[in-house]
């Protein structure tokens, strides 16, 4: 009987562990939000995080958006040709980039680049006792390490998404006029005419949520890193995986909220 029930017991343990982990992340998130509004504020650390997370992520987000926009134009043209709807390419590229691909791919690229580096940095600080040193120097690690990064990512990722949207549409435009024989003026007119403010706005809101998630996961796994190189490696991997999954999950929830009513 015990052997028969062993897989069920294992599943139960895994579910409980997952729920406990979700609870810890939720508590960590609430603690971070509460510290956002309580001094002291570390403006220099915030500015540094803004540069690292925002400015230095621009090339990778831009390249991703450029190629995605180009590939999207080719795919929509090929698909649309089946029912003589090639003319929808500009509007679908614009809507697809601003609502979905810009924020999601931008968020995932930032997750790969930023969640990993935050988790590795804070994890290393933990195992080398730098976090304990911060405490003994009367500095709250949450305020000094987590809050500036989470705030910077929440503000920087929407900007990255906005820039990525423009570059992605530009990628579609370049492919459209060079490979698909679109007229430049027609392509631009169709893009502008069909695009609504909320298409862009919803993507920017998603970007803010994804930025929050990415930095939060990096900080959470870094702060909870186990000892040694293996512990830091595991924290880094977990941060990227958790951030990526949470981006996709919150993207679905936000899309339901924004577009199904």
């Amino acid at each position: 009987m015990t052997t028969v029930l062993a897989p069920v017991a294992h599943l139960g343990r895994m579910t409980l562990a997952m729920l406990a982990s979700l609870g810890r992340v939720a508590l960590f998130a609430m603690l971070t939000i509460s510290h956002l509004f309580r001094p002291p504020f570390y403006l220099k650390e915030f500015a540094q995080a803004l540069m690292t997370i925002g400015y230095f992520s621009l090339p990778v987000v831009g390249m991703t958006a450029l190629f995605t926009g180009g590939a999207l134009a080719l795919q929509i043209y090929a698909g649309g040709a089946r029912f003589n709807a090639e003319s929808v390419v500009p509007s679908i590229v614009a809507i697809g980039m601003t609502r979905e691909l810009g924020p999601v791919l931008g968020g995932l690229m930032v997750a790969a680049r930023v969640a990993s580096s935050i988790a590795a940095e804070i994890g290393t600080m933990k195992v080398t006792e730098q976090i304990d040193a911060l405490v003994t120097l009367s500095t709250h690690p949450m305020k000094y390490l987590t809050v500036p990064r989470v705030l910077a990512a929440t503000l920087a990722v929407p900007v990255l998404v906005g820039v990525g949207d423009i570059i992605g549409i530009m990628g579609g435009y370049l492919v459209g006029i060079t490979r698909l024989d679109f007229n430049s003026a027609t392509f631009l007119r169709n893009t502008i005419e069909f695009l609504e403010a909320w298409d862009v706005g919803s993507g920017l809101v998603k970007g803010a949520v994804f930025g929050f998630v990415v930095a939060l996961m990096g900080c959470y796994y870094g702060m909870n890193s186990e000892r040694g190189a293996q512990g830091v490696g595991r924290a880094t991997k977990s941060a990227v995986v958790a951030a990526s999954v949470m981006i996709l999950a919150t993207n679905y929830i936000l899309t339901e909220l924004f577009f199904t009513s």
């Binding site: 080398t128 730098q130 304990d132 040193a133 911060l134 003994t136 120097l137 009367s138 500095t139």
Partner: protein, 248 residues
């Protein structure tokens, strides 16, 4: 100055501290010795509030540390960590002046830098080290920077966690002398954890041996060699045979 009454701490099934009682008098240098994994660092972390004891009372200058404002309590302490624990992303002077640049009594940047350079000089480092980053320093230099950081705000109590681990004998001697000089000069209360018996003899006024989660022996450094305690004798002479199991 610091009193610990019946301190217990367990991690799962592992009962690290099983009723530690210890008094560190004001202005004295207490050295805690004991084998690896006996909970010496945990004891220091309990005093600092980095680890919460399961039971027992710790007081600093008569105040229970669990009921004292954390920032006020920590402002009385300086700590030298085993690996230095210097902040990689900050230059040396900023590491040393870290506390001076924060809080209600924060100094202007130029003034804090001047204090940092003075403290670096005190531990035998030249001013040009101030603008280097910790990764550019040798192990001995990092320890000295850690020491400068520990004394920068002139604390009443200084903790040293294995200050000579990983250093050659000459550098260990330099660090031991510095610790002794600084503690005497500042009139600070000091608590040091070490395995290094040369350090014990150089730094200690009082010695306490932690074994099996309790203070096995404590007394003035002058009484240590004459003590009949078999645990203490085995440890200070580094004997493989005795009441302390060599394989733990």
């Amino acid at each position: 100055m610091i009193t610990m009454k019946d301190i217990h701490k367990a991690f799962g099934q592992n009962r690290v501290l099983r009723g530690v009682n210890l008094v560190v008098p004001k202005g004295k240098s207490m050295v805690i010795i004991g084998g690896s994994g006996t909970g010496k660092s945990i004891l220091l972390k309990c005093i600092l509030g980095l680890v919460n004891p399961d039971s027992g009372v710790i007081t600093v200058a008569g105040e229970d540390v669990t009921h004292t404002d954390r920032d006020v309590l920590l402002s009385r302490f300086g700590m030298l960590f085993q690996g230095g624990a210097l902040f990689d992303s900050l230059p040396v002077w900023h590491n040393v002046a870290f506390r001076l640049l924060r809080g209600k009594a924060a100094l202007p940047r130029a003034e804090a830098r001047a204090v940092a350079i003075e403290k670096l000089r005190r531990v035998g480092l030249k001013p040009d080290v101030a603008d280097l980053f910790p990764a550019e320093l040798s192990g001995g230099m990092q320890k000295r920077v850690g020491l400068a950081r520990a004394i920068a705000a002139e604390p009443e109590i200084i903790f040293f966690d294995e200050p000579t681990t990983g250093l050659d004998p000459i550098m260990s001697g330099v660090i031991n002398d510095l610790i002794r000089e600084i503690v005497v000069e500042m009139g600070a209360t000091a608590m040091t954890i070490t395995h290094d018996m040369t350090s014990v003899r150089a730094i200690a006024d009082e010695v306490a041996m932690l074994h099996d989660g309790i203070i096995q022996w404590t007394g003035p450094i002058g009484d240590m060699d004459a003590s009949p305690d078999p645990y203490l004798q085995q440890f200070i002479h580094g004997r493989a045979k005795g009441p302390i199991e060599a394989v733990r």
